[in-house]
Amino acid sequence: MAKTLKAVLADAGIPMNFQAGGQAPDQLIDREIQREPHPRVQKLKHIFMGTLSSASNEFPYWYTREYMLHDNDVPVLRRAKSLKTAFAHSTPVIIPGELLTMRKAPYFRGSFPMPWLSEGFYMAKEDEFYQEALKRGSASVDEHSKFGQGGGNVPNSFGKVVSIAGKFGMRQEEIPALLKLARLWYGKSVDDLGNRYEKMVPGYGTKEKIMRNIVCMFDSGFTLPQGREVINYYYPLEYGFDGIIKIAREMKDKVAGRADGDGMVGMNRLYNYEAVIYVVEGIQSWIHNYAKEARRLESLEADAHQKTEFKEMAERLEWIAHNPPRTFIEAFQMIETVHIAVLNEDAISGMSPGRIGQVLYPYFEQDMEAGRITEDEVIELLELDRVFKTSIDCFASVGVVGGVLSGNTFNTVSIGGLDKEGKSAVNRLEYLILEAGANNAMPQSTLSLLYDEKLPEDFLLLAMEVIKTGAGYPAFMSNQIAQEFLKNHYGHEGMNVEDARAWAIGGCLETSACTWKPLHLNGKEYWIPGGAGQPTSVGVHFVSMPKILELTLFNGIDQKTGETVFAPHDKSLDTYEELFEQFKTYWKEAVDILALTNNIQHDIWRKNNMAVFNSLLKPDCLDKGHLINELGYRYNATFNVESAGTITLVNAMAALKKLVYDEKEVNLKEMKNALKDNFGFKTAQEINSFSLADQEKREDGDKKWDKLHFKTLQAPKYGNDDPYADNILLDWENFFCPDCKNYESLYGHPMYPCQISVSTHGAMGSATIASPDGRLAGTTFADASMSAYPGTDKNGPFALLNSAAIWDHAMSQNSQLNIKIHPTAIKGVEGAKKLLDLTRAYMRKGGFHIQYNVVDSKVLKDAQKHPENYRDLMVRVAGFTQYWVEIGKSVQDELIARTEYEGV
């Protein structure tokens, strides 16, 4: 039998240890804190747990039908009329027991394709889908029950259900319509049109090769054109939908026929306001349809209590369809409605509610004072919100939904931070948000705590207790670092300290520009924060640093495909400095071509597929009369460059520096041969395991690379407070962060760095050969951007924090550090305090983000073997929490392998 790397190392007397700071108990240890939600919530959660991701054609059907009627209209109005029709025809589905309603599609966990963005990924399987649709027989309970083991994913077709993109199920009866609708968009979608024009960019061929060889993960222009931003609920809360229409009508009268000094787009304001009216009317019809359904259910209901709940739901919906909400539950229903409406407008991942503890506080405060609601009722609603948000799916291709997002939609809620005057913003409602997060641990909304020294200690300790549930939240983000980044990057657009304090996390951990607006409720004024920036899901996304190193070492040739991606540099790379310079040259070439081509995709998006509803919500669109595409948002410099595989690159460069250049233990040619030969091991794909320790020696593999491989594994590694490796990280950051400013977005603003991995470290690792740090072909990269590579951080958590904080995190939108901790390491009150001390230490050192996976690795191993026993097991991946059974195997393997701290 082939030996694993762990066994090979053991034979050589080299320990491979994935535990640090002690030894975990032998038995499986569950999380210390375990709570249950309210019975009503438990019932709905139970339904969710057995629900499949389900796709419907309804919304795209009505959108397309209307769109095709208006081929001569102004683009923004053509789009607005289509959105209005689609919203107005969405079938309402209300599940008894829920108090907050409205959903994306007519299923509990529904979504739908948007062929106007991209139809290619399912059209490519047209014949296959047709056959699936026609040949399907009747559903079998046995077949169906198998799918429960994979969570809500529908990886294969079964019964009358056709699997799309390995995740979504669609009824066979809908497949012919799916394909016919898609065909109507052929050559017209953002994907197709963008591709026609991006080909005109000189060097486009390199871009294609970059994508084909997974140097870059995805095009942002047509996959997820919006997201990783903070929504703004202010206008519907302050004015109601009738009020918004009134504003738009008044503004139309003011701007009709007037350029007002802007000869380029001044005249467009008329069409934009008209579009706002259309879309809001569509949303009002949609709400009314839900109200009618609630009335219908009321009329059918025999149970008096449920009958009253349907009646009150109908009354709430009828009210908020026109007016500003008056109570906490009305306001909550309003923000849920607005949230789903935005998500139905575009393919979006990471539309974060932001600081809803601040936004909903006026209603909470006044309801509590008036005795209209109790804290227990508020907690129940907050728990229901977690079912509501976790049920949100985003329909996109398998590469995006699986490879990048792990099925997550990143509806992040931020808590903590400062208020407009600079005082702690923590209020009683934010404590309840934490309580609800512990009671009903579900992936959405994940919680981000905006850490500041001014926050109350008991609030921070409560956060630690929530972390101990193993939910993976709240993550901690530094308020001071974020504010510094925002002032630096958006200063030229007017960002001041006051607006910087309004910030929140958009997406998993994207620092997002926000602002304050005055909300009025019963004569009292409250300043509430909300999003004021464009999406940050846009720009150059996920460029693989280890792959660029591979291309640098091999003269521009991808070693997995044999394709020449970059023009050969023909350099001998005799010095470390020459190697690093060439790496940077290829990096810049990749980022430049990706920036240009993505700009074109986004330009097509803004011309034909602009956000109308999301735009009207964001300051200052309603005031200016310009939507997102005409720089109506207050902050528009949101395009970024995303890196992936930072620490794998740092470790690889450290090994090359040490072994090839400084100590000359091996020459570069021999190192390259070892990498090509994968140090004598099989590939990860061959053995279907993606963590380093499990990799197997090839049967024909002799020991010729063993010595070198051991040396690469023992070379200096990031995460140990060792300047040899950490200074490489410092050099990289001091190049990368300023370099991003050299690329300009289509909106004319400089870009900035974004350093998260989401799940790309799995997919990109899979496409990359062995690296000089000893990592083997096809295995994952280190996760995130500041996490140590599994098993390599041996000097304790504080050493890891020192390594991570070596550079100025305020130069970047974010950085990301994940730590896995065994539940026993932070047990009891003392354990919570230790965890807070560790967190605080990192924030004080200048770290931006830290989050914890409190889990026993043995539980994860057992869950991989017996997924049927772990439907509700959640893990923190990289910036987000997800159900274990819904994430891919490579990321599962990486999560198991991460260093487990047995003490902090």
Binding site: A55, E58, R109, V141, E173, P176, A177
Partner: protein, 87 residues
């Protein structure tokens, strides 16, 4: 009277592509199983006068303003369609 499957009745709330809730009994039921007698029919294109079937699972909506008439599919719910007409 023809018996309806659950997914063709208004007494059914779809949870996913395979199942939903019987709104009268609160039981989780399979979409394709037969609903009890007397359950209210769900307006769908296949029950609409304006639907013209052209092929398996596809047809046209004769009430659409589009030229040629826009596609429709028999299983699409039409509770919100102002052009829905019972046969």
């Amino acid at each position: 009277m023809e018996m309806l499957t659950y997914k063709d009745t208004r007494n059914y709330a779809p949870i996913d592509v395979t199942k939903g809730m019987d709104l009268l009994t609160r039981e989780i039921v399979m979409a394709d199983t037969q609903a009890p007698e007397g359950y209210e029919i769900m307006p769908k294109c296949k029950f609409c006068k304006n639907f013209k079937e052209t092929d398996t699972f596809i047809g046209t909506c004769e009430a659409s303003m589009n030229e040629p008439r826009f596609i429709a599919y028999p299983d699409m719910t039409a509770v919100t369609c102002e052009m829905y007409e019972t046969m």
